[in-house]
């Protein structure tokens, strides 16, 4: 078994008096693809956002690549990291959003090169060559100069995946990447994600696509009310879950 890349222990998140995450724990190994399923409002997306520090956690801890997120340990004290240190930690993790969030004033190519050039300080020529490769890989060689407004939802999401990969992350988080797409555009995005998974990328995917989870995921976690109710190999969780609510959810989604 490969080494652990993401370790979450007792992650708790509260929004005023609503507990969004209640002592969530999870281990993700390098190269593993984990899907998180569950009803809306169960905390799936919140958990994903905590791994990228888009949300602050109120309890517990998360490590990515052995690095504690958001804090630096000094003896018996945990010191909160400064903004630029948090920004540096985020570089190891890519994120793909439900609503794409491409930069509308930049072309597809510029969306992908923005981070490498301005954050990683890569050479422009090299960054552009890499970006062209990535856009070719997601099947958009002919759209490099297009603005997001000129692309379909499926194309925009594929650019967003290329943008995440442009930062050469060790891990990519997908937050319901196909939920905002018209049904006929879902498969082109899932195909790209499947290809990415086969190339060995570590991925955590919040999704309602049971077919994708079944065929691509190594691990599936079922969340409800801020807790992980069941976690295990995809086949087991999706076909023969121990948890009754998980079984009911899988049945309902499959209908």
């Amino acid at each position: 078994m490969s080494e652990i890349l993401v370790k979450a222990i007792d992650v708790t998140k509260r929004f005023s008096n609503f507990t969004a995450l209640d002592r969530v724990g999870m281990d993700i190994r390098k190269g593993e693809v984990a899907c998180i399923i569950g009803p809306s409002g169960s905390g799936k997306s919140t958990f994903l956002r905590c791994i990228n520090m888009l949300e602050r956690i109120d309890g517990g801890a998360i490590w990515v690549g052995g690095e504690l997120l958001g804090y630096r340990r000094q003896g018996d004290e945990l010191h909160e990291l400064r903004d630029h240190e948090i920004a540096r930690q985020r570089r190891r993790t890519g994120m793909v959003f439900q609503r794409f969030n491409l930069f509308p004033h930049l072309t597809a190519l510029e969306n992908v090169t923005e981070g490498p050039i301005h954050v990683l300080k890569e050479d422009r020529k090299a960054a552009e060559a890499h970006a062209r490769d990535l856009l070719a890989r997601v099947g958009l060689s002919d759209k490099v100069g297009h603005y997001p407004s000129e692309l379909s939802g499926g194309q925009q999401q594929r650019v967003a995946i290329a943008r995440a990969m442009g930062m050469r992350p060790e891990l990519i988080l997908f937050d319901e990447p196909t939920s905002a797409l018209d049904p006929e555009l879902v498969s082109e995005v899932l195909d790209v994600m499947k290809d990415l998974a086969e190339s060995g990328m570590t991925m955590i995917v919040v999704t309602h696509e049971m077919g994708f989870a079944r065929s691509v995921a190594d691990t599936v976690a079922f969340m409800e009310s801020g807790r992980i109710e069941e976690i295990g190999p995809a086949e087991k969780v999706l076909s023969d879950p121990d948890n009754a609510r998980c079984a009911a959810f899988v049945r309902a989604v499959h209908k």
């Binding site: 540096r88 570089r91 994120m95 954050v119």
Partner: protein, 283 residues
Amino acid sequence: MSATDDIYRTSHLKLVPRRHWGRMISAGVVLLLLAALVRAFANGKIEWTYVGDFLFSRTILDGLVNTILMTFAAMALGIVLGVVFAIMRISENPVLSSIATGYVWVFRGAPALLQLLLWFNLALVFPKIGIPGVMEWRTVDVMTPFVAAMLALGIQQGAYTSEVVRGGLLSVDSGQYEAARAIGMGQLLMLRRIVLPQAMRVILPPIGNEVIGMVKTTSLASVIQYAEILHNAQIIYYANTRVLELLLVASFWYLATVSILSVVQMYIERYFARGAKRLKATG
């Protein structure tokens, strides 16, 4: 062919366009009034030769240059202050945010003319400015009409502009902030590369409007002896008493300046509208 079929045949009929009587009458009335206005000016006691003579006179052109100079100086100061205070206003630091709110409150709350007089007469209460013991200047030397006008107009403009910029920043979708953070950007890089370029689309039309407003507001600086175009036109008509002729000369140059700026604004807006030719497609 029966009679009932006949009423459905229209191809042989002649088409008579509708007459827009209302439009014709209203256009006629307006043209008549315009003719009366032209006639009034032609017959009025305006010596058009004076207008022609002074249009390109040295004093007037110097004034024009000073007007343009002050417009840019005050707007530059206003935009810099506006951006800084808008960012302070939306920051999570309560001290910075309150100071920004206070700045807008104070400098939007007093007339431009009053602020001009205030800065110009600063020497009355602060004879010397600078860091005591290190660098000091006499306020009367520093507070020239140019400096006083730039500070007064620029600082007031900053108060208005900061509200415009704040509106622009708020118009950028929160997903853009998240996407920028997700690729590891820090606050400043995110503002400079992602947020401000998008906010510009919302910010520019009102800023263009304010630049054009500023061209004319600079005329207030004539009261503190700043040699802009109205000030110089007044100096000439105090001497030759051709008041209206010189006011027309000044009007011409204001209109010309504003027209050129409107064209410039159009091109700048076109640049920042890139990527926004169509609304966001969903599929």
